[in-house]
Symmetry: C2
DNA sequence: CGGGTTTCTGTAAACGTTTCCGGCAGCTGG
DNA sequence: CCAGCTGCCGGAAACGTTTACAGAAACCCG
């Protein structure tokens, strides 16, 4: 029975005893530093025989880094965040970091708690995707105990890296596309207006409508929660009055769009012949339904990847030198046209 | 400028100096153990002024637990695993554990690495969802350095908690449903046959077909990868010959089913009038398409939740006493009927 | 063979906690 | 007034590593 600590796991001490050398030598051999041939062999044999695995916690304590990163987002149920997790995971994995996932359930206090918990040294850095940016967020970001990258739009004077989507331009892309394919009564199903994405999409919609010479008609704009069922309900409201029926519905995300599509189908309306539907995010859902959904890709994958890269870069540069200036980048939106907005004979 | 360690973060030592007490007292106060009123106040004030946050790494080293759990699954892109992550996350969060996410990309060596890495004490326990169970898996599970719960089917003699889906029964539910609603030529689009789910679904399909007095026709069975595009391709193959066209397609997951649906739509075939389609997993995708998809819920959420609970329970019971016997549970499948398999006038 | 250089090794400190233990002060009761 | 408590406190050890430092061994060369 090998001599081990109470925990049961072999430690560097068990190896030292078995190989009859000091713990310093064990550590050196295990880390590939110089040692006599004989010592190397004895240590390696002992380590193998005991099935030694270095204790990552002890190592972290010693050198002040955990090789863990945290990603905090509102809800893993939303495909957009899944895309981000996926991208971030693949970057961090390649760099030898583990990924800690934190679901904030879109609760502001939870987001703040995550920011403050950077101080507990549980992870070396944080990518956070807040649903809202309050003054408290700004304050917490300023005083963060470690490097942070925000996915979302920050006030300019907050000295933190950020990666944003251009949903204003994205919404405009969709509206112009609908206009160009002959649609004139364009409805808009948006998410909650008090979130950053919600506000931006609204802004994009308004400006693009104006650009196209179309009037912003309150009766054709619905605010609701993100989610398929919400989309269906919103569509019901828009379709209540047959006379003023829209010939296109632009939705603030794909889930809403699928909800709208469902409502249209169950009323016997055809997509795109009677009503065109466009979504946003170009998530895997866009290709799931029928007809396949035109959607504006806001670059979730790209943003996730880039956020992770910024964070890693910041971790690589020693804090002592002139600190890296905060960087902000914007992922360009991309319109992905599919069948749900095909022009109809009569329209085009 | 408060006196702090080189790292910059205040520690228990900084507080002790500022409050003019020993570090032992600081620790006691911070952990709510007894102390004189005066001491408590001084320590708490000093801690607040310095913005002290306890170092989780040091604490972990001391008491041998990290308050982190790991979940390893093949691919976060698959909605089934998203459901699991979500369920696990919510359980672990409630219990005060952080969640470490590990994507194995369905490569066996990666799964094994995760199992072995339990020894580095980075997390207190592991929920793993392997795509295959090899002898090496079994060996790694036997010698795991910490508690593990497997989501999937294990050989009976492996002493590890597991939570399994009953995809045999699940497939049978779907087939019987299709048969009862008048379908007779039932095709089957399955995933890779060398995975556990693939094999089980095949078995379920075969037995149910036999039960219903239908013949298993090789020409109506396609094996492919899981994924929407694979489903579409599979459907193309099944539909190539008009004469032998199936009147129902059962798919091993929702993505395949959506792919099949797409192929059917683009050939102008109607669902469910011409061909019924059923999927599996009842993921969020099932409600995304049109018509909404009949699907067999294999309880991903349930399994994730239960796996997490088993793990937590095992963590709570001290290892010294009689060890908990390994437990195995099976989530019952549930058929969710939607429009995609509605009986047609001529059939029913 | 001895002095200097090089290589290797062991001792000990450090990372930031928690906790055991001995001791001191204050109190109570005889 | 003292023995015995009780309640707090500080010193020190421990968790498992890495690493600075100093000493020992080996080697080279004159």
């Amino acid at each position: 029975m090998p001599r081990t600590q109470s925990g049961g796991q072999p430690t560097i001490v068990s190896i030292a005893e078995r190989a009859e050398v000091s713990i310093a030598s064990v550590s050196r051999v295990l880390n590939g530093l110089g040692a006599r041939r004989d010592t190397v062999e004895r240590v390696e044999r002992a380590a193998a025989e005991l099935g030694y695995v270095p204790n990552a916690v002890a190592r972290s304590l010693k050198d002040g880094r955990t090789r863990q990163l945290t990603f905090a987002m509102p809800d893993i149920g939303n495909p957009v965040y899944v895309a981000m997790v996926r991208a971030i995971q693949s970057v961090t994995k390649a760099a030898g970091y583990r990924l800690l996932l934190h679901s904030t359930d879109a609760v502001v206090d939870d987001e703040l708690a995550v920011l403050r918990s950077l101080g507990d040294r549980t992870s070396d850095g944080l990518v956070i995707c807040p649903i809202r940016i309050t003054d408290e967020h700004v304050e917490a970001l300023r005083t963060a105990a470690g490097p942070v990258v925000v996915i979302g739009s920050l006030p300019d004077d907050v000295p933190v890296d950020s990666v944003r989507a251009d949903s204003v331009a994205g919404a405009a892309l969709a509206v112009r596309h609908l206009h160009e394919t002959g649609r004139r009564r364009i409805a808009f199903v948006n998410g909650p207006p008090d979130t950053v994405p919600g506000r931006n999409r609204d802004e994009g919609f308004r400006t693009a409508m104006a650009e196209c010479g179309l009037v912003y008609d309150d009766a054709l704009v619905v605010h609701t929660d993100f989610g398929i069922d919400s989309g269906a309900e919103a569509a019901e409201r828009l379709l209540a009055d047959d006379a003023s029926r829209p010939d296109a519905v632009f939705c603030a995300n794909d889930q809403l769009a699928l909800g709208v599509a469902r409502a249209l189908h169950s009323r016997g309306l055809r997509i795109p012949e009677d009503v065109a539907v466009a979504g946003m995010d170009d998530s895997l859902l866009a290709q799931a339904g029928w007809p396949p959904l035109t959607s504006v890709d806001l670059g979730s994958t790209e943003r996730g990847r880039h956020a992770a890269e910024l964070l890693l870069e910041r971790l690589r540069t020693p804090d002592g030198t002139h600190p890296l200036a905060p960087r902000t980048s914007t992922a360009p939106p991309r319109l992905v046209v599919r069948a749900s907005t095909a022009p109809t004979a009569v329209n085009s």
